[in-house]
Amino acid sequence: MLEFKGVFLVMEKILQMKGITKRFGNITANDRIDFELNRGEIHGLLGENGAGKTTLMNILYGLYTPDEGEIYIDDARVDIRSPYDAIRLGISMVHQNFKLIQSHTVVENVALGLKGLSFFYPNRYIEKKIRAFSERYNFRIDPNTPVWQLSAGEKQRVEIIKAFCREARIFILDEPTTMLTPSETKELFRLLKLLKEEGISVILIAHKLDEVMEVCDRVTILRGGKRINTVDIDSIDKDELARMMFGQDIVLEGREEYSVSFDESVVLEVRDLTIFNDKGLPAVKEVSFDIHRGEILGIAGVSGNGQRELIEAITGLRKVVRGSIRILGEDVTNMGAKEILNKRVAHIPEERMRMGIVPSMSLEENIILRSYDKAPFSSGLLLDYSVISEYAKELISKYRISALDEKVPAGTLSGGNIQKLILARELSISPVLIIASHPTQGLDVRSTQQIHELLLRKKEEGCAILLVSEDLQELIDLSDRIAVMFNGTIRGIIDIDRANIEEIGSLMVGV
């Protein structure tokens, strides 16, 4: 039916959410939000962390039930109580952390939960469908590869294919580009535009203004749980969008000019480092580099090319097989995490929830995670909680961590505040070397900016900083030099004043 109507229905409203309100305790995550989605449009949902984007989409996907408000699909009132209802109504969600079964193949993952397959050889039909899909949209994916062998970008395609095979009409993508390389992002956007032309509607939860400008038709801005506006992308520019997101002007430019500036004295010296991964295979091969006082060395590269192992070795969490690591001239190769910490090395870990905090323990107890056994926090066998509370309060205000008080469990904080908590803890040891791994991944623009400022201030104070990131913009904005890692080796260290994206990009993919 719909196929015939074609162009006439381009402006047809496929989805309306009216007056959606959702409260968690005292917090109103969504406050009477109206949201409309047209058929065949890419609609950006923009806002800081905690603005209510994810809550709104979780309501649409049936993960939460709204306290107030109504949802209409094709002008019919619907009641979405579970993801099952949502899928039945043609709504599909592509999660940020892919919900795929690692040891199963692409076909098996797509087949999972799909209705109406034949009892015998159900995969055959799916495989055909996947092949047709990849031909139609011109991207390659082998249906019989186990998922664990796929890159992040490929996994995302599997999620999209899953949605497609369920004949979804509304795709929700939750920050889809966080895990992707620039070329994969480009590929994703191309695919989204093709889907759009077929009448599929896409809701894109996003942080990055550039991406929103590039791919969206309209954008809805949320702030503090309220809808601020919905605008056509053609009638607005980035500055205005940012103003609506934050309610104030923020500067979008990075550093005015990119220049290399650091002392001659070496803080971290890495020589011919070889490190094995968990499977006992070399993950880092003969890597050498120096970081100087007041230098930020960026490490670019698609994840899984040895960055994690390199950082774990430098911070004392993984054994070095060959080679040496020196900090301020002292050999620290294969020292434990605590000894390395005592050399005043701060570590901002890659997965902040998995490693950086103890979620069930209080904010103050997390603040002292790396120094609980030192004065003044402990004396003898006991901890001095009054000193700890005072100290935590001080850091909370200094680093502007928004939390009810210092006794709340750290796991209840938002991503940005958790990261600020970790930075507060790590930077307060007055480090000589900071190892920062994906410090702003998944954070909103404001938190990202605050974290960048903190790192730059530390650079000015003379810290050496090793910054691993997949966000090229971030690396370019902050680094003095960029080392590109590919397949366990460093493919070149580029001074920032001579860097260009194409060169880095091609080194990253091993050209």
């Binding site: 962390n49 994810t54 940020q96 952390n97 939750d174 920050e175 911070t315 004392g316 969490l317 434990g336 995490a337 605590k338 000894e339 390395i340 910490l341 570590h347 870990p349 902040r352 929830m353 998995r354 490693m355 950086g356 905090i357 103890v358 979620p359 069930s360 323990m361 107890e365 995670l369 790396r370 609980y372 056994d373 402990s378 066998l381 006991l382 901890l383 909680y385 796991g411 209840t412 904080l413 938002s414 991503g415 958790i418 998944g442």
Partner: protein, 348 residues
């Protein structure tokens, strides 16, 4: 936290359901059975005193296990550690210093009992730390070794020539017998020890460096590694303390009640296993464990009583206990899984 306390309420509900199931099988009316359990355990001075007597080893074992469970290492061997504590105390009394005065002998019995229990608990801990062997299986298996070791002693080398062939060790001299309250069997020195230890463990958990380390390891071992905690040292220490507390319970049983070493099943009616339930239902909270121990002491007393008064088999109370244990385990799993999903969401 509220959710954890809810488990306590729900498990009482499970006990009631269990009793109803027994009714369906045996025909004993639930209200009769329930009244029989409650009155025998809590309805008379004698009942209360027996309940408290049985609560003492549960408290000590439960407190020890709570330390282990807090750090997410699983000591299931309290039964064996209790028995080894009893063996250690007996050894001191009968073979090392039988003539020592009471004030010297009793503290040394407790000390040696704690050391024996602690060392027995160290075996699974060392195997875990050195060879990554599963501590649940090793500590559980060591229970059976301890049981058979005690039986070997009382049937063999330690068998008393004065007990008409019963598998008993020689009776302890009065200097090695713990005082009791009036004519009850409440050996109050052990009880006081347990109450003091509950407070000490509370302080350890929430005020000390070790407790901090235990909670970090228990909640997020990756963060513990990242923070540079000496995880192996802490695991060994936790097992040592955990086994030591169970060992104290063993000393209390032989010095306070039996005044001799007997066959394993005579010394402990599964206190080490019941303590697993006690620790969990007590939300791994030292003060709550004291309370829950008392309730379970009552259940054991009531279990004995319904055997006599209602002619129900001895396994009846095991049946109810097992129901609760399964329930606790299921709850533990679901509680452990749900937050991990939430964590990932709040990351965004």
């Amino acid at each position: 936290m509220l959710k954890r306390y809810r488990n306590l309420g729900l498990s009482i509900l499970v006990i009631l359901l269990g009793i109803f199931a027994i009714y369906l099988v045996s025909g004993v009316r639930p209200d009769v059975m329930l009244r029989s359990i409650v009155t025998s355990a809590f309805g008379s001075i004698y009942g209360l005193s027996e309940t408290l007597t049985k609560a003492i080893p549960l408290m000590l074992c439960g407190l020890g296990l709570s330390l282990s469970f807090r750090s997410s290492v699983w000591n299931i061997g309290a039964e064996g550690q209790l028995l080894m504590g009893a063996v250690g105390a007996t050894w001191i009394v009968l073979y090392v210093m039988p003539n020592a005065p009471k004030l010297v002998l009793i503290p040394i019995m407790f000390l040696v009992g704690a050391i024996c229990g602690g060392i027995w608990a160290l075996i699974p801990a060392i195997l875990k730390v050195k060879f990554n062997l599963n501590e649940i299986i090793v500590s559980l298996m060591l229970n059976y070794i301890a049981i058979e070791f005690v039986n070997y002693l009382v049937y063999g080398p330690w068998k008393s020539p004065y007990e008409w062939g019963f598998p008993y060790s020689t009776k302890f001299p009065t200097s090695a017998q713990l005082p009791r309250i009036l004519d009850t069997r409440i050996h109050y020195p052990t009880l006081i020890l347990a109450l003091i230890l509950a407070i000490i463990i509370y302080i350890i958990l929430y005020k000390s460096k070790l407790g901090y380390e235990i909670r970090v390891i228990g909640d997020n071992i990756d963060a513990a590694r990242y923070a540079g905690l000496d995880i192996h040292r802490i695991i060994l220490l936790v097992f040592l303390l955990s086994g030591g507390l169970a060992g104290l319970a063993g000393v209390g049983e032989v010095a306070g009640i039996h005044h001799r070493l007997r066959v394993a099943s005579g010394i402990s009616s599964g206190y080490g296993y019941t303590a697993v339930i006690v620790a969990w239902l007590g939300c791994l909270d030292p003060l709550l464990i004291i309370l829950v121990s008392f309730l379970f002491g009552g259940l054991l007393v009531g279990g004995d009583a319904i055997q006599v008064s209602l002619g129900l088999p001895g396994a009846t109370i095991n049946f109810i206990n097992s129901l609760i244990l399964i329930f606790v385990l299921v709850q533990g799993f679901s509680n452990a899984r749900i937050p991990s999903i939430r964590k990932r969401k709040s990351e965004r």
